[in-house]
């Protein structure tokens, strides 16, 4: 999700300009490996980029963005991604979703400028997740709302507005992601912010995306913001962080290719509760003996091939022009066979492609059966056998236009190691 959000944010900007990347999440893939480094690799950012992982905090999202806005020197990228888990049959399970948002930060022609901010620490524990625990523990909602949100947030909002030298009544968008339904409405009233400024909580089509949620809402608001609009963004957890932003004239030219709206429009609806439990590892299904196959990653090989695999880099033979993935020792063209030393790097991640052959495999172990697989033909000439995902119920056809998505390819459950690669997905999702 972080990579996909980052790709969307970087469509208009040269990636080589970025000199810092911060990645925030409540659910890191590893206890120690920097997720920002994995994201930077997949986004093909400069290898000398300064990275920072922000996590272990409900405030990683808004707090991380605030730190990045204050601390970045030059152009930077901030990505927040989260997938909070709710225990089966809990209120959290009903309310929670998943999502990621990415923002480029820096000086120059920005689409929104930081006018002011405020932070507050508080001993108010409304919910917590223990170390090594998958699910959180949540106190009564009314107490959280009345004693926590309604008292802590307004104090910080007032301080931030004061620093920004703007009135609460002038706020155009009040952005406060909360798992409590209508909490933002309640808090906005306490702050003196107009009721119609309360931002769409995205609870209908997305659900509460944990520490990413306020940032996700901010990204959504920026899609439609007008020059001069004031946006207040709140992140909560043992206190809170508040940002006051103002959209600039450059916002008029801002059109994300996909954005939050595009991601919501692309939704594939699925009402199978069992599948949701399975995807969330909330139920231990019998997968059969085929699932016993070891998917241990040779870390040596992963490193050797990382320049090709992370960014989906094909090579272009300088002698015959054939674009090929993977790059092996000699050119694949029967008439050429040139050594691959100077094939360069041509990322297939954003290249137009179509489905050439396909099938739905019901036999192989696959966490989301069936496994759709087929040859993907890229307009620039490469052909790659790939998994095709998010197919929906109408299936595939030869010639279906495809785009690329960075996904988990396999999870080595024995060693707890996920490996990532690119998969293809239909450009126009059915339904």
């Amino acid at each position: 999700m972080a990579v996909e959000a980052g790709r969307d944010a970087l469509r208009r900007q040269p990636r080589t300009d970025l000199n810092s990347l911060a990645f925030a999440t409540g659910r890191p893939s590893f206890a120690d490996l920097p997720g920002a480094s994995i994201v930077a690799g997949a986004l093909h950012l400069r290898p000398d980029i300064r990275i920072l992982d922000i996590g272990r905090s409900q405030r990683a999202g808004v707090g991380g963005l605030l730190s990045m806005l204050h601390g970045a020197s030059g152009a930077g990228l901030f990505v927040v991604s989260d997938n909070p888990a709710g225990k089966p049959a809990s209120l959290q399970e009903m309310a929670y979703g998943a999502g990621a948002a990415a923002f480029t930060v820096g000086a120059g022609e920005v689409i929104a400028e930081l006018l002011g901010s405020a932070s507050l620490v508080s001993p108010f524990v409304d919910q917590f997740r223990a170390n090594d625990s998958k699910y959180g523990y949540v106190w009564e909602e009314r107490w959280v709302r009345d004693e926590g949100l309604a008292k802590i947030v307004p104090e910080a909002v007032r301080a931030a507005l004061r620093e920004a030298a703007v009135e609460a009544g002038a706020v155009r968008r009040f952005i406060f992601g909360s798992p409590l339904r209508d909490a933002a409405q309640f808090v906005a009233r306490k702050c003196g912010v107009p009721a119609d400024a309360v931002a769409n909580p995205l609870d209908e089509r997305c659900g509460y995306a944990g520490t990413a949620h306020s940032c996700l809402m901010l990204a959504h608001c920026l899609e439609t913001a007008q020059p001069g609009d004031l946006l207040v963004v709140v992140g909560f957890g043992l206190g809170c962080d508040v940002l006051v932003l103002r959209a600039t004239d450059a916002i008029l030219a801002f059109k994300p290719r996909r954005g939050v709206s595009g991601a919501l429009t692309d939704a594939l609806e699925d009402d199978c509760y069992l599948r949701m439990l399975s995807f969330d590892s909330a139920i231990d299904l019998e997968w059969g003996m085929r699932a016993e196959k070891q998917v241990k990653t040779a870390l040596t090989e992963q490193f050797r091939s990382s320049s090709q695999l992370a960014t989906f880099s094909a090579g272009r033979c300088p002698r015959c022009g054939t674009v090929q993935f993977p790059q092996l020792v000699y050119c694949v063209n029967q008439e050429c066979r040139a050594p691959s030393g100077d094939f360069g790097s041509t990322s297939l991640a954003d290249e137009p492609a179509q489905l050439f052959t396909y099938t739905a495999d019901w036999l192989s172990y696959y966490p989301s059966p069936p496994m759709y697989v087929g040859f993907v033909d890229f307009d620039i000439g490469a052909r790659v056998l790939m998994e095709i995902v998010d197919v929906g119920t109408t299936g595939l056809e030869v010639g279906t236009p495809l785009k690329m998505a960075y996904r988990i390819k396999d999870v080595d459950h024995a060693r707890g190691y996920p490996r990532y690669f690119w998969k293809a997905t239909p450009v126009k999702l059915p339904g």
């Binding site: 003996m289 695999l309 694949v332 052959t357 099938t359 496994m371 790659v384 030869v398 390819k409």
Partner: protein
């Protein structure tokens, strides 16, 4: 200019086990069952064998690496024994090794044997093999049916064949083989099935249903080869000689470039051309008496009819439905013994099992399946998947 091995090597003995779910035996016993029959058929002693090639493809469920397990099982003392693995072409590869040893003059008599014990996995179907450390990082880990099912999409798309028509044609492929398999005592699956059963079977990998997939069995097969001169000196009549043994392996063109249209298997075509050249065959449709091809999946057999240049491009669907390849039809009988469809596919045994049927037919020993006066037959294996594979074509015939 190489002259090939046509008529330089004769098969003097063959053996083939009962194929099926051989819960009663392990790989050593399967090897011995095929070996004993081949020795008896050849009329020679174990000690007359100068060298042996033993095939096994999946060591995790078989006997393990190297030639040692086979040498121990067959008590092959002090002679060169090689272990061979080349996916589904393994059975033909061991024959090639033994034949080349004889043709070169390095040995007088050589053994080719292949065995696979697939029913020790604990589940149906083939295990998914590892593809190497690099490929495992990016390549989808698809099942065999998923690899071959894509041929249907490519073939149907190129020749604009409606899905329903293609489904019916490949169903006929399986129907015909089940009819034939009912006459094969050593086959695993010996019950005829109806077109309705085939068409309505559960889906495995679209459009391949259960009956579009071959069985999964245990089995072994063996051949003993020597020169025609030694064969005659041993008193052999109706000599069956090797006319051609050829292979072609993917070099990545199909799977990495857009030069392949997905409707055929380039390796089969390359191996067939080489084999016809070696055997001196110019019109396979008229010259071949019978074929045993790699019907791992029904779509594979259908496409193979074109890849072996027996059917013209795009014509296999109508010829299959017209019964051109049926036993007793007007054309070239295919899978007279029931094929992989009914024997199942103990991987390293299949190539030799096919040769066993050709050999039996040529010698007039095929019992209820016997064709009238066959003189030349072809075997074909296709290992891996259509776009990343190993194709083998062998041609056996009576030595005139």
């Amino acid at each position: 200019m190489a002259t090939g091995i046509k008529d330089k090597v004769a098969i003097i003995g063959m053996g083939c086990t009962q194929f099926g779910e051989r819960w009663d035996v392990g790989t050593p016993e399967l090897l011995a069952e095929a070996f004993d029959e081949a020795l008896h058929d050849a009329g020679i002693e174990r000690g007359q064998i100068d060298a042996a090639w033993c095939g096994s493809a999946l060591d995790s469920v078989n006997v393990g690496n190297s030639a040692i397990p086979a040498s121990i099982a067959l008590r092959l003392d002090g002679i060169p024994v090689s272990r061979m693995e080349n996916m589904c072409a393994t059975g033909t590869e061991v024959l090639r090794g033994a034949a080349y040893a004889v043709a070169s003059g390095a040995v007088d008599i050589a053994l080719a044997i292949g065995a696979e014990k697939l029913k020790d996995t604990g589940y149906g179907g083939l295990p998914t093999p590892y593809k190497g450390t690099l490929n495992d990082l990016w390549m989808p880990l698809v099942s065999a049916p998923a690899g071959f099912a894509q041929l249907a999409a490519g073939y149907g798309s190129k020749h604009r064949i409606p899905k329903e028509l293609l489904k019916r044609a490949i169903a006929h492929v399986s129907w015909k083989s089940h009819q034939n398999g009912a006459l094969s005592p050593k086959a695993h699956l010996r019950k005829p099935v109806t077109m309705e059963q085939i068409l309505n079977a559960p889906m495995i990998a679209e459009p391949l249903g259960l009956f579009d997939c071959c069985g999964v069995s245990d089995g072994a097969a063996a051949a003993i080869v020597t020169t025609p001169e030694i064969a005659r000196a041993l008193g052999k009549k109706d000599l069956v000689t090797i006319k051609a043994l050829q292979l072609s392996i993917s070099s990545g063109v199909e799977s990495t470039t857009r030069g392949w249209d997905g409707s055929y298997v380039p390796n089969t075509r390359a191996a067939a051309k080489r084999a016809y050249r070696e055997a001196g065959i110019t019109d396979p449709r008229r010259e071949l008496s019978l074929m045993e091809v790699h019907d791992c999946f029904s779509i594979t057999e259908l496409v193979t009819m074109e890849d072996l240049f027996v059917s013209g491009d795009g014509l296999a669907v109508s010829e299959v439905l017209d019964g051109f390849f049926d036993r007793g039809g007007t054309g070239v009988p295919c899978q007279v013994d029931g094929g992989l469809k009914c024997f199942g596919h103990p991987i390293a045994a299949s190539g030799l099992r096919m040769a066993y049927e050709i050999y039996s037919q040529l010698q007039g020993r095929a019992g209820a399946r016997q064709l009238p006066n066959p003189s030349i037959g072809l075997t074909h294996n296709l290992g891996g998947v259509p776009y990343l594979g190993v194709a083998a074509v062998a041609i056996l015939g009576l030595c005139r």
